[in-house]
């Protein structure tokens, strides 16, 4: 069996497992966690596109998340627009803001970029808090419509249970993965990474770094907005807190721990953190201590100091070691 077939067999297997998961584990709470992990995966993948592949530290990423959520919710609640369209409208609106944010990013780097992006998110968050007529301020929007049922001939697919949203989010994650993977492995992706590694060097081979930065901000924002809209129609409650700094910090932690600049990293990070979160919540209740975020902080520091490539990097090293020891043994067994 060659590498190619092995790769595809692996993928089909994973897909099958994922498709059958809700039939096997029917616990609603578990499925809820998986849905949340999925939404965070999309958010983290989008942030990783900026930070890991292009080297742009966007600490205001949560703003795109919130914009997508609010846009979709308001369209549904005020104009009766179908949430399915809202998902994309949310993404596109966020993309527009991403486009705008790309411009200051052109000339800024490091802490200057970090602060500008934080400022951007904070200003939007305050707009959300204070434009009470539109956003209901700190209370946020509640009672957001669920994803509307889809009619396929005689079939009427309703979206109400966690299991239903599981399949939607699964599809969304797969599509996002597909897009991000295609982007990063293409000429576009190699150009982004060139920009990240050396901006002047990139310009010297004809890369218009300004347009690339704006493009990647726009694309990244789209996915973040889409994730936000998904959240809105699932949890059915959005608030200005979605755009808070600590939401971006959560995303950042997931990306870092999973492995920056890799495809598997954001998935691993989102899943690990989401489930770890729940387990820690349980522990917290048990011992009455607030240690969840303390652990995050510690994990982030330790990851950067000792495990820079994150969990994905660790797994890759493991795979390499296994591969080289396998080759070693093969050599030894040859006469």
């Amino acid at each position: 069996m060659n590498k190619y077939t092995r790769k595809w067999l692996f993928r089909v297997l994973v897909l099958a497992v994922l498709a059958l998961l809700p039939q096997v584990i029917q616990a609603r709470y578990f499925l809820h966690l998986v849905v949340m992990a999925g939404i965070f995966t999309i958010l983290t993948l989008s942030w990783n596109l900026l930070a890991g592949y292009t080297g742009l530290l966007n600490l205001g990423h949560a703003a795109f998340y919130g914009i997508g959520a609010y846009t979709s919710s308001l369209l549904a609640m005020l104009l009766g627009i179908s949430p399915w369209i809202g998902l994309f409208a949310g993404g596109l609106t966020a993309a527009f803001f991403g486009f705008l944010l790309g411009f200051p990013a052109l000339r800024l780097s490091g802490p200057y970029l970090a602060i500008t992006t934080i400022g951007f998110a904070e200003i939007l968050r305050m707009v959300a808090i204070n434009w009470v007529d539109l956003t209901r301020g700190s209370l946020g929007l509640s009672g957001i419509p669920l994803l509307t049922p889809i009619r396929l001939g005689a079939l009427n697919i309703k979206f109400y249970f966690e299991r239903d949203y599981y399949y939607v989010v699964l599809a969304a994650v797969l599509v996002t993965l597909f897009c991000v993977r295609r982007l990063t492995q293409s000429e576009f992706g190699v150009s982004l990474q060139a920009l990240r590694d050396d901006e002047l060097g990139a310009q010297s081979v004809g890369i218009n770094t300004a347009r690339y930065k704006i493009a990647v901000f726009t694309i990244s924002a789209f996915f973040a907005g889409f994730a936000g809209a998904l959240f809105a129609h699932y949890i059915r409650l959005v608030s200005p807190e979605m755009m808070a700094l600590h939401t971006t910090f959560d995303t950042l932690t997931m990306a870092m721990i999973g492995g920056l600049g890799t495809m598997a990293g954001p998935i691993l990070g989102a899943v690990v953190i989401t489930f770890l979160s729940e387990w820690l919540r349980y522990v917290e209740d048990l011992f009455k201590v607030d240690i969840r975020l303390v652990i995050y902080g510690l994990m982030l520091i330790l990851t950067i100091l000792f495990m820079r490539e994150g969990i994905a990097g660790l797994l890759r090293e493991l795979a390499n070691k296994l591969e080289s020891s396998r080759l070693g043994r093969k050599k030894e067994s040859e006469p």
């Binding site: 597909f178 000429e187 576009f188 990474q193 050396d198 060097g201 310009q203 081979v205 218009n208 493009a215």
Partner: protein, 262 residues
């Protein structure tokens, strides 16, 4: 001999400091012109001006008759001028092969949005699986002699080889004019021979070259003409033998730098 590059009255001020002052020269098709002068004479600044990395304070730069004085770095490259850097600027976290692939991308007709669209909606396949692109990249790596490192991360390459990688990457952009900034610094005598051969071979492939060099052995050997800068001004120009016996040139070097006699 057709003229490919013309620099007219070029000047660059950094605040009160005049880095380049009233420099004019031209470069003809298939010529190798050496740019020499003591440290701080403005050679790299001149290259930065021509390549679009910085904008001139005064003067004009014409490439194939077209005014590129205000063009930005990426525009200049798309027009057919490539460059290397004095302190190598390779893409560290990409493999050697990917570094060259980055240079091969056709940016004259495809901006980021076009490429992004192609990536998602175009045919399947990662860039590294593109047979044609990889073949051309391999060719270039072979040309500079670093094929066996194709899968190494560029940042793991020994210094001398990174300089060659930069040349391969620059060649990938299919330039008509190549600006080399001290490509031989840090090379041992054996490597220098290879360097001279490489540059000559590039020239043979129809690429004109403007090269800054301190290693006299290289520059005397390969240059058709020399231009000498001192304190931002052109003080001499001509065939290598002529230039080296020019008293103004000797003065400039003995007065400040040390690399003259070889």
């Amino acid at each position: 001999m057709t003229e490919i590059l013309r620099v007219e009255g070029l000047a660059k001020m950094f605040g009160g400091l005049c880095a380049v002052s009233d420099v004019s020269f031209n470069l003809n098709h298939k010529e190798i012109v050496g740019l020499i002068g003591p440290n701080g004479a403005g050679k790299t600044t001149l290259i930065n001006l021509i390549s679009g990395a910085i904008q001139p304070t005064r003067g004009r730069i014409l490439f194939n008759g077209r005014d590129i004085s205000k063009a930005k770095a990426h525009e200049v490259n798309n027009l057919g001028i490539a460059r290397t850097f004095q302190v190598v600027r390779i893409f560290g976290k990409l493999t050697v092969l990917e570094n060259v692939l980055a240079g091969l991308v056709d940016r004259r007709s495809k901006g980021p949005w076009h490429l992004a669209k192609d990536a998602i909606f175009g045919p399947a396949g990662a860039l590294v699986e593109d047979r044609e692109a990889c073949r051309r990249a391999e060719e270039l790596l072979e040309f500079v002699g670093i094929s066996r490192y194709r899968k190494e991360l560029a940042e793991n390459l020994p210094y001398a080889l990174t300089k060659r990688l930069e040349i391969a990457r620059a060649m990938a952009t299919a330039p008509k004019l190549l600006l080399l900034d001290e490509p031989s610094s840090g090379l041992n005598p054996a490597e220098l021979m290879g360097q001279i051969a490489l540059i000559n071979e590039i020239n043979r492939r129809d690429v004109s070259i403007l090269i800054i060099e301190h290693v006299m052995k290289v520059i005397m050997d390969i240059s058709h003409r020399l231009i000498v800068l001192d304190y931002g001004e052109k003080i001499a120009e001509g065939v290598p033998k002529e230039v080296c016996s020019n008293p103004k040139v000797i003065d400039a070097y003995l007065g400040g730098g040390a690399n003259a006699a070889h």
